[in-house]
Point group: C2
Chain length 331, copies 2
């Protein structure tokens, strides 16, 4: 039984201190977009290739010592799975992850390699929520949601605290605009709490831009039936949470949607200019800036949220010739 | 007129302090290879995509104030060109770079984007040394060699000081074995000076392993006529220098050669597991470890020296299916 708890800025600061104690800051790479220097936070270079270990670490370390041996259960198509498995292994806790059978192979295998038990389900016919709840109940394990949880939101927000500190050290000033990928909104809400003075721009793939529509409507609107296919597997959330929506809505966050081809262009740009491998969902904030759906301005921080992608598929994206000039240049 | 000057460990320390004043440390990424954790120094994430700005910065800042306005001249197939252009721009000095017409487009364009004047020559019929010497003489500019220079060697060595500090902070202990790509040997010699207690393993592409043969012979042996083609454009040096050879020879450095397919396998491994884009020459140290031509052992530091590669070509390398299991895992 968890008491009703809201994510807070103090919680984000606490999470940032806990994360800093076990992980070096992820690199902040500065590169020019148009006429301004943009700060890119390379969460793709985290040990699990995504920011998700932040929230997982903050959540799992909050589990009472007497409950740890019973382990944790999570459901995820990939990156949250690896974040939870990584944190659980580090704490010596058993982890069970419910993953869709069609999750990228690279994410399934990486989760197993971290010592987690993986239970697969069929996205079309089974409910991952039910499977996970059943497993957690049967084992007395703690269920760890991927975004609808105060600790998870606070933990992800630690990326914002860290980036602001790095921007200050690099004499770039405070972040004034943060461009952040959005699935369920955990990362975006955490960063909104972390950086109360910045304009938050959340980015989703076209057709999966339910946070954008929800922010415009003023209430939660789920993804429509028959949403188009997207390569952004990590951002395919059918419905955001009250918790994440509330935080972002109160902060006046603005949503934008990017196309699949803009995402591929961003993956190519990141490979050529930042020398980074980004998964499609990890490249949407960059896609928004390159397409000028978000105007790059002084003090812009963009989160490159993950880099877990099957490399043959990534190779195909790179080999596809681009219309734009992709010659590498420096900031 | 330059007095005869030998590169020293004190010079490397001085270079490291100068570099630290203008650049954050490049990321040190830890990942398991076989049964041990290897520390990878991601010089590919430097602003010019390679370690070369270290030596260039140390060299250019040593030019007397009254000579700065006359500028610098360098010859290079790419990464040294960008390093010199970057340092010159930062110091407000004019830079002229002599580059082969067949240098990777990405490197030619990046050098021009940094504001340098690029003079192209034909590798087969013209002498870049003569062209550069003529230009330097005509303009009173300082010639900046790519490896046969004490400041350049010391500057590149700053990567070793930085990596050792990071390994200590991450509680990995001191580097005991350093695996380093070798063209003319500037980086390897600098690191040998920086880390006097580590075994230095220099890695070259097969057929271009003249440093290996020289170290075994005890005198300098150039690359043979008719050396095979290699994708490692940054390591195609016909002859190492007395300066670099002497340092490495005295330190008992050992050379190994890797095949072209081992290099491509290393590029795929780095993309899948480290989420990094590496150019072929930047991946040879990793290739030596993955192929077990160098045995990974506790305290191994491997330099990932550069990431400047035409991305369509890189995409082809990734799309080529590998025999090995390339699923992403974590350390």
């Amino acid at each position: 039984m968890t008491f009703l708890r809201q994510p807070t800025k103090a919680g984000v600061r606490d999470a940032a201190a806990k994360v800093a104690a076990i992980l070096p800051p992820s690199p902040l790479i500065v590169h020019r977009v148009g006429a301004v220097d943009v700060a890119f936070k390379a969460e793709s270079l985290q040990p699990v290739g995504a920011f998700k270990l932040r929230g997982a670490w903050h959540r799992l370390t909050a589990i009472a010592p007497e409950d740890r041996a019973k382990g944790v259960v999570a459901f995820s198509s990939g990156n949250h799975a690896q974040g939870v498995a990584w944190a659980a292994r580090r704490l010596g806790m058993p982890a069970t992850i419910v993953m869709p059978s069609d999750a990228p192979r690279v994410k399934l295998e990486a989760t197993m390699a971290l010592g987690a038990e993986v239970v697969r389900y069929d996205r079309a016919t089974e409910s991952r929520e039910k499977i996970a709840a059943h497993l957690a109940h049967a084992r007395g394990a703690t269920l760890v949601p991927s975004f609808d949880d105060p600790w998870i939101i606070e933990g992800q927000g630690s990326a914002g605290i860290e980036a602001a500190r790095q921007m200050e050290q690099m004499e770039l000033g405070a972040p004034r605009q943060v461009v952040v990928p959005c699935g369920g909104g955990g990362l975006a809400a955490g960063i909104a709490l972390a950086l109360p003075d910045a304009q938050i721009m959340v980015v989703e793939p076209e057709g999966w831009d339910d946070m954008r529509r929800s922010l415009e409507a003023g209430w939660i609107e789920p993804v429509s039936d028959g949403a188009p296919p997207t390569a952004c597997d990590s951002l395919q959330t059918m419905r955001v949470a009250e918790r994440t929506f509330d935080v972002l809505s109160r902060r006046g966050a603005i949503g934008v949607a990017v196309t699949e081809s803009e995402v591929r262009e961003a993956q190519r740009w990141a490979a050529a200019r930042l020398r980074l491998v980004l998964e499609p969902g990890g490249a949407v904030a960059l896609a928004a800036l390159l397409s000028r759906r978000v105007e790059p301005e002084q003090g812009t921080l963009a989160i490159l949220s993950g880099g877990n992608t099957d490399i043959e598929r990534f190779g195909d994206v790179l080999a596809e010739r681009s219309g734009a000039d992709l010659s590498a240049t420096v900031g």
